[in-house]
Symmetry: C2
């Protein structure tokens, strides 16, 4: 670790002890909080990812100030400083500086969790199942992406006079359904193998792809700060091409990938091979002006048809389990809930915007359920409700938008509440609707979805 | 990520792109180099860990300058700066600063790999097998720790006039045999279940414990810079107590740990539970003045009798596979080989010291083989040679010693060469000695050792 010169009056040993204590304590706090809340929520049959978010809010900038990202400018808890300072023999008022100094390491670990999670999401995309319900799923996905994106963006600009770049970003954050949460709720109710279940999963895979393409374009655009047509077209073309190439490679290049991996004789070859693919794909995506996150997802798509897929999945899952938790908790920790304090008149507009986004997020996806066509009987409400939870992809939007400083605090909170609200509502409403109707055709759950595919992540 | 104010003339988007590219490229370079060398060595039936070290030397401060820890003060390769600068539209001469700024994240990931590796080493300690060959193993372990430690420390002080703290540290670095490498060589030769194999594994577990206790004491002491009796006694007592408590807990507390883990209903509970145990143990070790590394090892000992041990092992192995590689490559990358350039007269003393340490490291452990007593026939040379490889524990000494700036560049290289030399020599010599003698009593390899227990790490 680098010793900042300004702390030269502190012995380098005490400094290192303090750094180790801060790192370990931060890690322990994240996991104790995330696990406690996740265990609570799982007992109410709610997605554990909500627990990780709430854990972040509780120990973060809006709560106990134990986990405070430096960019929030929030003062670290005095208890934390006193404990670490006391043990390491360093004046407690020096602790916040060491804390901030070493925060980049936690963000690096969190990014690693994010990229691993996106890789796993791509890896678990059932492209073949998708083709079976292709037309229906495509129709639901497109309506479910276009509607919330258009309504959200135009509404935020027209009604609330939000800056166009921010409005587009917030609109885009409502596009992608969480495959993991949807699949686990349907699986648990025995509805995964029904026509509705298959359409929802297919549409969720497709809108992940559409959503992550939009994300890649929006973040790159917004970084420029202006909205010109030429770069938008250029980025959209690049992003679509990138995903198309990944999809083609997933059909064609998997044998080559498998051949390379089979040549590796030293232990751990499949995992290292996968992370090299992940790294190369992130590098290419970044180099052509897209988000690294898109590269991670595309790498997962490419590996999804590998014959080693299940082994890769087994090796990546614990990595996601540890580090994606850090990502979700950090997202919650960075939120400033004071901007929606209802007793503060100036904060009310943020609350109204949050309400608007929540409504659009629900209406957009429920209406998408009616995009199912054809003669077969389909419960369109079930399809619509199944598309509700935004979960991890919504949070990836939020995390990247916050990191790129694209969003006002009010919009950050609005996105957070939209994600929490839809992810909370979907299982509750689906259980109500499906309670009395046993699934019509068998409820055999395929192995892939028997457990929450995000098992590790929560 | 934090934007340093001094780079304000660069747009924050370009800065972030550069930061992402540097992070991803560094990661890809580490794994391409480590994997290539590991694949090469495994074809000569040599331990892959040697490949990871050499990979670090090749891309590091003594080689291509692609992976340069900031503390080495070595200039980053111009090729690296030009590639990243070109893609991110940043002047190449600004790249080294961003590179150094973000190096802490890589070191954090490397520490995570180190702690996970030590946890896994503790977890895989076969305490019951140890008891079976207890007295013999204990005798070999003690002689094999005391002899190199005493000969090394006294020789370095007496013959080469090395500073006492450095001499003690270098002596201590020769104490611990690598369980992983030894077990994999014996396993491969079908000798693991022989009397010799069992004694060596038992002694390797014991000298790991002794070695890590010595490490915890020496690093803490050396940080103070002085050698007084009172703090030495205090630290030795603390370290021994800490390990004894961990050993007692491994017999008594595993049911409690299992009970807690069994209550966890959200997915991933065993892994999170293990890392919380790891975090808490590292925190306590650091808080009472010992090394966090000892805490990580002790946590593994505690979990080693858990009924979930195999599941925990399966989940931790991929994490070690990715991140311990980063640790080993970074150790190699930080080495300055110019200090042993034989054509430079002032560098010759470093080479002589390296030769001396190599010799002591071999003699100390081979003689320890003759510490086997009792009426049963035992091939004492096989036991001695089996104890040779210092592998990962030697490197942990080196990594921590370098990080704490305890060692002169010459001693760092001497330790590196001692580790490389013994780890290279052991499998070669053992194969020569054992070539014509099939094992006497069965060569059934227990499941735990059928594969390299460090499988993930290499």
């Amino acid at each position: 670790m680098l010793l900042p010169a300004l702390l030269s009056e502190i012995s380098s040993h005490d400094f290192e002890v303090a750094e180790t204590l801060i790192g370990v304590l931060r890690f322990v706090l994240i996991f104790v909080a995330a696990r406690s809340l996740a265990e609570l929520l799982v007992r109410f049959e709610l997605p554990t990812i909500l627990g990780e978010l709430l854990a972040g809010v509780i120990i973060g900038a809006s709560g106990l100030h134990l986990l405070v990202p430096p960019e929030t400018q929030v003062q670290l808890s005095g208890v934390f400083s006193n404990v670490v300072g006391g043990i390491a023999h360093i004046p407690p008022d020096e602790i916040p500086e060491i804390y901030n100094e070493s925060f980049g390491a936690l963000q690096a670990v969190s990014n690693l969790g994010l990229f691993s999670l996106l890789f796993l999401t791509g890896l678990e995309s059932e492209l073949e199942e998708l083709i079976a319900v292709g037309a229906q799923a495509f129709s639901v996905a497109v309506v479910g992406v276009v509607l919330p994106f258009a309504l959200g963006t135009l509404g935020l600009m027209g009604i609330f006079h939000v800056d166009p770049v921010q409005a587009i970003f917030a609109g885009a954050s409502m596009t992608a359904t969480s495959i993991g949460i949807t699949a686990s709720v349907f699986g648990e109710l025995g509805y995964l193998r029904t026509r509705e279940g298959q359409i929802v999963i297919g549409a969720a895979v497709l809108d992940d792809i559409l959503g992550i393409v939009i994300l890649a374009v929006v973040v790159s655009l917004a970084a420029g700060g202006t909205l010109e047509i030429a770069p938008i077209v250029q980025l959209v073309v690049a992003a679509v091409l990138f995903v198309v190439v990944a999809l083609v490679l997933s059909q064609k290049a998997a044998p080559a990938f498998d051949w390379v991996v089979d040549q590796l004789k030293a232990p751990g070859g499949k995992l290292i091979g996968s992370y090299l693919l992940l790294g190369a794909s992130c590098f290419i995506a970044t180099a052509i002006g897209l988000e690294a996150a898109l590269g991670a997802f595309a790498a997962g798509l490419i590996a999804s048809t590998s014959k080693h897929r299940h082994e890769i999945q087994a090796a990546v899952t614990p990595i996601v389990g540890l580090f994606a938790t850090v990502f979700f908790v950090l997202v919650g920790a960075g939120m400033d809930l004071s901007v929606i304090n209802p007793s503060d008149p100036s904060a009310r507009s943020a609350l109204v915007i949050a309400g608007f986004m929540f409504l659009v997020a629900i209406v957009g996806k429920v209406v998408a359920g009616w995009a199912v066509f054809g003669p077969q009987k389909t419960n369109k409400l079930v399809v619509g409700l199944g598309m509700l939870p935004r979960g991890e992809v919504g949070l990836i939007f939020l995390g990247l938008g916050t990191a790129a400083k694209l969003l006002s605090p009010g919009l950050e909170i609005a996105i957070l509440l939209m994600v929490i609200g839809t992810t909370f509502l979907a299982p509750v409403l689906l259980r109500l609707v499906l309670k009395d109707k046993p699934p019509e055709d068998g409820n055999e759950v395929p192995e892939e979805f028997a457990a929450d595919p995000l098992a590790g992540a929560s």
